[in-house]
C-alpha cells in the first residue's frame, strides 16, 4: 500500500532564495506526523507547496495514494481531501463565524451534509456555536484557533495540515489543542502537524521529521527524535518548556 501523502525530492525557491532543498516525507492513513524545526527552517513553505500555494521548483507530491498533484491549482488539490489550518489562524475576520464555517465546505453542494457538519463542529467546539453570528475578527485568539480548525474540518478532509496550532495560546489551551489533534485523528483524519512546541507534538505524533535550513536532518519515532543530538542542537535546547 502506498502512503496517503508522499513528498519526494521537494525543492522550493522564492525567487532567487532557495529555501527547501530536496525534502522527502510521507504520511500513511491514520497517522499523526510532526514536522519540527526552528523559525525559518521552511516548515510553512513545505505545507504551502503541498497545497499548491507556492510552486515547487522540483520534486513529486503524491496525494492521495500515488496521485501526482504538483502543478495543480490549490482549489483542485483541496478538493482531493486536504484541509489546512494555517499559521496564525487566519480566519476571515470580516466574515461571520458561521460564514467562515460555510467557506470551509465551499465545494460541498449537499446542503444537508453542510448543516450536519456544522452541527458536528458545534458539538466539538461549543464556544463556536455561541459565537456563530459574530464577526470572526472579534473572537479571542483561542477561539479563532478553534474556528480555524473547525473551518478546515468542514470539508471532511482525509488529511489535515496543521501549521503551529498551539502558537500563542495559553498553556491550558495548548493542552486542549493537542487533545483535539488526537480526537480528530481518532475520527479517521490523518494529520501532518508543524510545531515549535516539540515536546507536546512528540507526545501525540507517531513519527516526526526534523527540518533544518530546508533539509530533513532527522526522522523517526518520537523516542528516537527526542534522543537524537540533532533535535537538542537545533531545537529543544532553545525551548523553555
Amino acid at each position: 500500500m502506498s502512503a496517503l501523502l508522499k513528498v519526494t525530492g521537494l525543492h522550493v525557491a522564492y525567487g532567487p532564495a532557495r529555501v527547501i532543498h530536496g525534502v522527502d516525507l510521507e504520511i500513511n492513513s491514520g497517522e499523526i506526523r510532526a514536522l519540527l524545526g526552528a523559525n525559518g527552517a521552511g516548515k510553512t513553505t513545505i505545507l504551502k507547496a503541498i497545497l499548491g500555494l507556492v510552486r515547487a521548483a522540483q520534486g513529486a507530491i503524491e496525494f492521495p495514494e500515488g496521485r501526482l498533484v504538483r502543478g495543480l491549482p490549490p482549489h483542485k488539490i483541496a478538493a482531493l481531501g486536504i484541509g489546512w489550518v494555517p499559521e496564525g489562524r487566519q480566519v476571515f475576520s470580516t466574515l461571520s463565524v458561521y460564514d467562515n464555517l460555510l467557506m470551509g465546505a465551499f465545494n460541498e453542494h449537499d446542503q444537508q451534509k453542510v448543516q450536519q457538519r456544522i452541527e458536528e463542529m458545534y458539538k466539538l467546539f461549543p464556544i463556536i456555536e455561541t459565537r456563530r453570528g459574530q464577526i470572526a475578527g472579534s473572537l479571542s485568539g483561542g477561539e479563532q484557533q478553534m474556528l480555524a480548525i473547525a473551518r478546515a474540518l468542514m470539508s471532511a478532509p482525509t488529511l489535515l495540515l496543521m501549521d503551529e496550532p498551539s502558537l500563542g495560546l495559553a498553556p491550558r489551551l495548548v493542552r486542549d489543542v493537542f487533545e483535539l489533534v488526537r480526537t480528530i485523528n481518532q475520527r479517521g483524519v490523518s494529520i501532518l502537524m508543524v510545531e515549535q512546541n516539540a515536546r507536546q507534538a512528540l507526545r501525540v505524533a507517531n513519527w516526526a521529521y526534523l527540518l533544518e535550513g530546508g533539509h530533513i536532518v532527522g526522522s523517526g519515532t518520537p523516542t528516537q527524535i527526542e534522543q537524537s543530538d540533532a533535535i537538542k542542537r537545533a531545537y529543544i535546547g532553545r525551548q523553555a518548556s
Binding site: L53, P73, A78, F92, S93, G104
Partner: protein, 289 residues
C-alpha cells in the same frame, strides 16, 4: 429653493452613475488588489454598444441596455484575461502598466472605428415628472433606476451568495480561500465581470442622457469615479455609493450656483481635502490582512 432642489436632483442622477463606476473600481481593487485603469473604458464600450444597437437595430431600451451592459462585460472579461489575471500578486505597477496600456488601446481603437467626433445616440424617452416644481425627465429616472438596481444587485451578490462569500474571503485572505477550494480565477472573472457590467450600465446611461458617445468619455468619468473610491475607502459598498452620489450633487451645485466651468474641479478639490484629513478614505482602510 426650487433651483437648489433641482440641482440636487440633477446631481443625484449623474452621481448614481459615478457611484456604479466607482463601485466596480473599488470591488476589483479590494478583491484582486489590482487597479484596473481600463475599467472606465468599459463604460465607453457600453456607450458605443448602445450607439451601434440603436443605429443599426432598434431603439427599444429593453434591448439597447442589456446589450450595452453585455458588451461592457465581455470587454471586462477580456481585460481580466489579458491584464488582470497575469498581473495578480505582482507589484501594483505591473497591473498599472498592463491595464493602462489596454486603456490606451481601447480609446484609440474606438477612435479608429467611430472617429474623434461624438456620435449621436438617438434614443428618446418621452415625458418628465414634476414634484413641487422640481423636474426629472423619465430618461433621468430610468438611468437612476438602472444604477440603483445595479448597486442593489452587487450588494446582494457580495453579501448573500456563495460566490459572493468566496469573493469576500478572497479579498481578505486569498491563499486560505484557495486552499478551501475557491478557484481564484473564477472569482477574478466574476468580480471584473460584475464591475465592468456596472460600468457598462453607467456608460449607456451617459450615452442616453447626453444622446452621444465619444472615444474619450471614459477618461474624465473614470477619474472622477476613481476619486470617489479613494475618498470613500474601499471597505463599504454603501460608502462608495454615498460618495458617488454626493459628488454628483456637489458638482451640480457648483455648476448651478458658481460656474459650470468649475464643475470638473470639484472632485479633485474633495480628493485633496479628504486625503489630507483622512488618508485612508472616509469609510475605511486600504490595508489588507
Amino acid at each position: 429653493m426650487e433651483q437648489f432642489f433641482q440641482q440636487v436632483v440633477n446631481g443625484v442622477m449623474v452621481g448614481s452613475s459615478y457611484a456604479i463606476v466607482a463601485l466596480g473600481f473599488g470591488l476589483t481593487f479590494s478583491v484582486m488588489h489590482v487597479l484596473n485603469l481600463a475599467h472606465p473604458e468599459t463604460a465607453m464600450v457600453g456607450a458605443f454598444a448602445a450607439f451601434v444597437v440603436a443605429t443599426l437595430f432598434t431603439t427599444n431600451l429593453l434591448v439597447v441596455i442589456p446589450l450595452a451592459v453585455l458588451a461592457a462585460l465581455l470587454a471586462g472579461l477580456l481585460i481580466e484575461r489579458l491584464a488582470i489575471r497575469p498581473t495578480r500578486g505582482r507589484h501594483i505597477l505591473t497591473s498599472f502598466i498592463a491595464t493602462g496600456g489596454l486603456s490606451i488601446v481601447m480609446q484609440n481603437g474606438a477612435q479608429r472605428i467611430f472617429g474623434v467626433d461624438p456620435v449621436r445616440v438617438a434614443v428618446q424617452v418621452e415625458g418628465v415628472q414634476t414634484v413641487g416644481g422640481v423636474i426629472a425627465s423619465n430618461m433621468q429616472l430610468m438611468t437612476f433606476g438602472l444604477a440603483v438596481a445595479m448597486m442593489v444587485g452587487a450588494r446582494y451578490y457580495v453579501r448573500n451568495t456563495r460566490w459572493g462569500r468566496a469573493t469576500r474571503a478572497v479579498s481578505e485572505k486569498h491563499e486560505v480561500a484557495q486552499a478551501l477550494g475557491v478557484d481564484i480565477n473564477r472569482v477574478s472573472q466574476l468580480t471584473v465581470g460584475l464591475s465592468t457590467a456596472m460600468a457598462g450600465a453607467a456608460g449607456v446611461s451617459l450615452a442616453l442622457l447626453h444622446s452621444q458617445a465619444t472615444p474619450f468619455m471614459g477618461a474624465i468619468f473614470g477619474t472622477k469615479s476613481f476619486v470617489c473610491m479613494l475618498v470613500a475607502g474601499n471597505r463599504h459598498i454603501e460608502g462608495i455609493m454615498f460618495v458617488g452620489i454626493l459628488l454628483g450633487v456637489l458638482e451640480a451645485l457648483v455648476a448651478g450656483y458658481i460656474s459650470a466651468s468649475l464643475r470638473d474641479m470639484v472632485a479633485f478639490g474633495i480628493l485633496v481635502l479628504v486625503l489630507y484629513l483622512r488618508p485612508a478614505g472616509i469609510f475605511g482602510s486600504y490595508e489588507h490582512d
